[in-house]
Structures are given as C-alpha cells and as structure tokens.
C-alpha cells in the first residue's frame, strides 16, 4: 500500500480523533507512541507529518522524523506555552529548519484548511 498523500499524526488520542473527524480517517494514520510513529515514518512516504509538542524531547523527535521523511511537510501542534520552543525548530538554520511550520491548538478554520492533505 502506498502512503503517498497520507498524513501521519503523532498525538494523544483526543487530538488524533479531532484530526480524524476533520480530515477523514482514510487519509490519516494516528499514533500516540513516538517509536511506533518513527517506524511507520521509516516504512513509507508521507505527505504530512503532524507531531504534538507534548512529547518529551520534542526537538530530537522532530529531527528524527525529518531524517526519515525529508520531503514531508513536518508540522508541530503546540499550546501557547510551548510556542517559544517550537518557534526555534521552525527557524531556518544552515541546513534549513527542522520543521516546516507550527500551529497553536486549537486550530482555526483556516488552519484546518491549510493542514488538509494537498
């Protein structure tokens, strides 16, 4: 099965369900365990990867996801409190930013549209 065009969501169940309700479960694979998600990232192509900022060691997790999915849109979902840390990941460095963008949860309608698979 090809995963091209699909979205991988790494978040707690409640947030994953929200994505499933909004974007449809066919286009989405949800995980709440980072290591299971990394294995899925290593086994297929994904157009978008959404990672909740609530995981410990978020920068390393994002770098690992980027390593396994160099072409995917990598987006972090965070709360207002963790925005400064997440913003650093989105800042361009020499080799490019670790993540492509971040959104503050809960998402606005425009943000949901921006997240929808292309």
């Amino acid at each position: 099965m090809s995963d091209a065009g699909r979205m991988l969501v790494l978040a707690r169940r409640r947030v994953a369900d929200e994505f499933s309700d909004r974007l449809g479960s066919d286009e989405l694979a949800a995980f709440d365990d980072p290591y299971e998600a990394l294995e899925a990232l290593g086994s297929g192509g994904w157009s978008s990867v959404i990672i909740a900022a609530s995981y410990t060691g978020l920068p390393g997790l994002c770098r690992a996801a980027r390593k396994l999915q160099t072409d995917a849109r990598l987006i972090v979902l965070c709360g207002p409190g963790s925005e400064p840390e997440v913003r650093e990941l989105a800042a361009p460095v020499v080799a490019g930013s670790v993540i492509d963008d971040y959104f503050i949860h809960p998402l606005t309608e425009n943000e949901w549209r921006a997240l929808a698979p292309e």
Binding site: D33, P34, Y35, E36, L38, E39, L41, G42, T56, G57, P59, G60, L61, R63, A64, A65, K67, L68
Partner: protein, 206 residues
C-alpha cells in the same frame, strides 16, 4: 537478521549521548579505523538511525535513557543490533528491560566491540548502581565513572575530610599516634563560645 546482515552494515556505530566527551572517550584508542561513529543526542534520533540503516552497534549513555525510551532497546534487539550501555541504570528501568544489552565501562567499549557477543565479558567489569536519570547532562562528569553504592540523597555530601597522605604501614615511624586529648580552642564547643577575657570584658560593660 543474521550474520550476513551484520557484515553488510559495515562498521557504523551509533553513540547516543548528549555529552561530546563521552563520545570521544567511547572509542578512544580504537584500533579499527574503518569504524564510522555517529553521535546522536536524542533516543529518537538513535531510533531513526536504526530504522534507516541498521548500524553494527549502538552505544547508549544511560543518562539519556528513560523508561519511555525502552522501545529503542527493543528496536535494536529486533534488528539484531548489538547494544552496549554505559553508566548507571536509570530509575524506572529494570535490568530485565535491558536484556541482551551489555553493560560496560567507557574505556572497555573498543575491546567489547571486537569481542563476539557470545563471549563472557571477562575483564570488563560493569557495576550497576540505580540512580536517577539526570535532566541536565552538562552537569554530569564527562567520563563514565563507577560510583560507590551511595543513597541518592547523600550524593552531594560536602567534602569535609582533608586528604591524608598514604603511608607505608610497615614503617612504624611514619604512623603517628592520634591525639586522644585534643586541645580545645575557643568557639569549638557551644559551652566555650567566648574566651575568659571576652567574657570578663562583657561583664565589665554591664
């Protein structure tokens, strides 16, 4: 994956540590120049390396490992990747969780990497001392040192003892008999906070 898979991997070695000195010390003096060592600072990055291109070995600085990172060990086990761990087993991690992992000291890693897995770890003592995983690796010693079994709350005991010169016990002249009646000095005891002169001066003021 069998031996053929291992030989295909070449000599890529992943070192999981936030401590650059640890990585330098890990394979210091190594004889195998063909080894390609890559240090990662996050267990997730180590997992990504395992997934992308399984290495010959994974060296884990146990200060980086939390109970939530045990899937990394399981992943290495499934991929038949040799795991060498250095340091004290973090709280929340049982020795059974590290089944198949070889505990080692920093200076012996190079020897162990050349030693087949089935061989006993002769000459490579490993002491396991449960200790809390540190959140700040920068505060920890750069080289792995095995610490004495000390309760966690007593680790930072202030250093009050003065160094004592090592003397030959055969040389009786070198051994001094300890004083059993030390001369008290003013202020050493709560009962002797003031000298007699100071006390007299105070009473005269009154």
């Amino acid at each position: 994956m069998g031996d053929n898979g291992k030989s295909r991997r070449g000599r890529k070695i992943i070192i999981l540590s936030r401590d650059a000195a640890f990585a330098r010390g890990a394979l210091e003096g190594g004889s195998d120049a063909s080894r390609c060592c890559l240090r990662v600072t996050s267990p997730y990055e180590a997992a990504a390396e395992l997934i992308e291109d399984a290495p010959a070995a994974l060296i884990v600085d146990l200060r980086c490992l939390t109970p939530g990172d045990l899937p990394l060990i399981e992943m290495a086990r499934r991929g038949d990747v040799e795991v060498l761990a250095v340091g004290a087993i973090p709280l929340g991690v049982a020795t059974s969780d590290l089944s198949g992992v070889r505990l080692a000291v920093l200076g012996h890693l190079d020897v162990l990497l050349d030693c087949p897995e089935s061989q006993p770890l002769a000459g490579a003592p490993a002491t396991v001392v449960p200790r809390a995983a540190s959140a700040d690796a920068a505060d920890l010693p750069t080289m792995s040192r095995w610490v004495a079994k000390t309760p966690i709350d007593r680790v930072e005991t202030p250093r009050t003892k003065t160094p004592v010169a090592v003397q030959d016990p055969q040389d009786d002249r070198a051994i001094e008999t300890p004083r059993t009646d030390p001369i008290p000095s003013p202020g050493d005891s709560p009962d002797e906070l003031l000298t007699r002169e100071e006390l007299t001066a105070l009473l005269e003021d009154d």
